[in-house]
């Protein structure tokens, strides 16, 4: 089986994880910029982080024959500090032209505050100004429904946004239709304790179709499983789906979305 891991925070993972991904058939990883587990003290911390995901991490992935792509932003948790957020926004254009940068993300909301929404809108404008695709994080647990609605409104209200170049990630059963019906791509995140299980992810394929969707592990420094995408593929196989169906969901779909940026080339 071949697949793409379209949302992974590999800076938090070990070389053992890279080995496991490679052995499971992973051809490329996609790394959105995210929260480090603590709030960074200054924009300089983000500058170093952007260097890490544009310069260093691709080399680490390459040792396991895995292509590495990334997205840039200040994440929603740290966007509450508007002054810091705007400093970070100002350095993003310095990195947009890097070979492995596919767009702006993972932007979005965390606690659905006015400041988060303001910085989300500024990120959207940055993406439009630089003709970049967008990868969106939706809030956790009880905040997801409200946050998804606010995000969809913010994107839909922008006249220059093409929904086919935006993926809204971490959808669940109650938010997937809000995203898909508006023409956006939808990401399903497979987590052991929250978001969706492989069983529910395959249920959502049956409910909402397998076009414009991808599955990811969003593996990071927390409880997460870097092999959850191949486990979802096994769930599809157990239910009787054939190789071409599985290949579309776990390989062709993410390749189609990411391939809208000409920098995305599978080696």
């Amino acid at each position: 089986m071949r697949y793409i891991e379209p949302h992974a925070h590999m800076v938090s993972r070990t070389t053992d994880d890279y080995m496991a991904l490679a052995c499971a058939g992973c051809k490329a990883v996609n790394e959105p910029a995210f929260w480090a587990g603590f709030d960074r003290a200054s924009s300089q911390g983000f500058y170093d982080y952007f260097r890490q995901i544009t310069e260093y991490e691709p080399k680490r992935a390459a040792k396991f024959c895995i292509d590495h792509y990334c997205w840039l932003c200040i994440n929603p948790k740290e966007s509450e500090d508007v002054v810091l957020a705007r400093e970070v926004l100002s350095i993003i254009p310095d990195f947009i032209q890097c070979d492995n940068v596919l767009g702006i993300g993972e932007i979005g909301l965390n606690k659905n505050t006015r400041n988060e929404l303001q910085i989300l809108e500024e990120h959207i404008q940055l993406a439009v100004d630089h003709d970049q695709m967008i990868l969106v994080h939706t809030p956790h647990l009880e905040d997801k429904l409200k946050g998804t609605k606010l995000i969809v409104d913010a994107l839909s209200n922008h006249s220059s946004i093409d929904p086919s170049k935006v993926i809204i990630d971490h959808v669940e059963e109650h938010t997937a239709p809000l995203v898909i019906d508006k023409g956006f791509w939808a990401g399903m995140t497979l987590y052991p304790e929250s978001k969706v299980t492989p069983h529910r992810a395959v249920d959502m394929l049956e409910l909402y179709g397998h076009e414009r969707v991808w599955m990811n592990s969003a593996c990071d420094w927390g409880i997460s499983d870097p092999l959850s995408v191949p486990k979802a593929a096994l769930e599809m196989r157990r239910r009787g789906y054939d190789d071409s169906f599985i290949d579309k969901v776990v390989y062709l779909n993410p390749a189609e979305f990411m391939g809208q940026n000409p920098k995305f080339k599978l080696s």
Binding site: K77, N110, K111, H174
Partner: protein, 90 residues
């Protein structure tokens, strides 16, 4: 999809069984330790009747019951995390 119909009960029953027993044991546990007076437990109990519904869409309805239903952005948040059910202070 192959022509052979997969038996989804064979595939998922034991998983569903253990999760159901875990919920029952969780409710017993918090009863035993007098910790039922928590908004998250109340939200969980409000969602449980959905399991007995005969209408499809149970998962989405459970998720909606465990979601903040307000629509306006909040002025600020003193916390960064989420707890799984809307707080009465939210």
């Amino acid at each position: 999809m192959s022509d052979k119909k997969t038996n989804l009960v064979d595939l998922g029953f034991m998983d569903a069984r253990i999760k159901l027993i875990d919920i029952a044991a969780f409710l017993d546990r918090i009863d035993r330790h007098d910790q039922t007076d928590d908004y998250r437990v109340s939200a969980l109990k409000e969602a449980l009747p959905e399991l007995l519904s005969t209408e499809r869409g149970r998962a989405a309805r459970v998720l909606n019951l465990l979601s903040d239903q307000s629509t306006d952005p909040v002025s600020e948040s003193k916390i960064q995390g989420a707890f799984g059910a809307p707080s009465p202070e939210q």
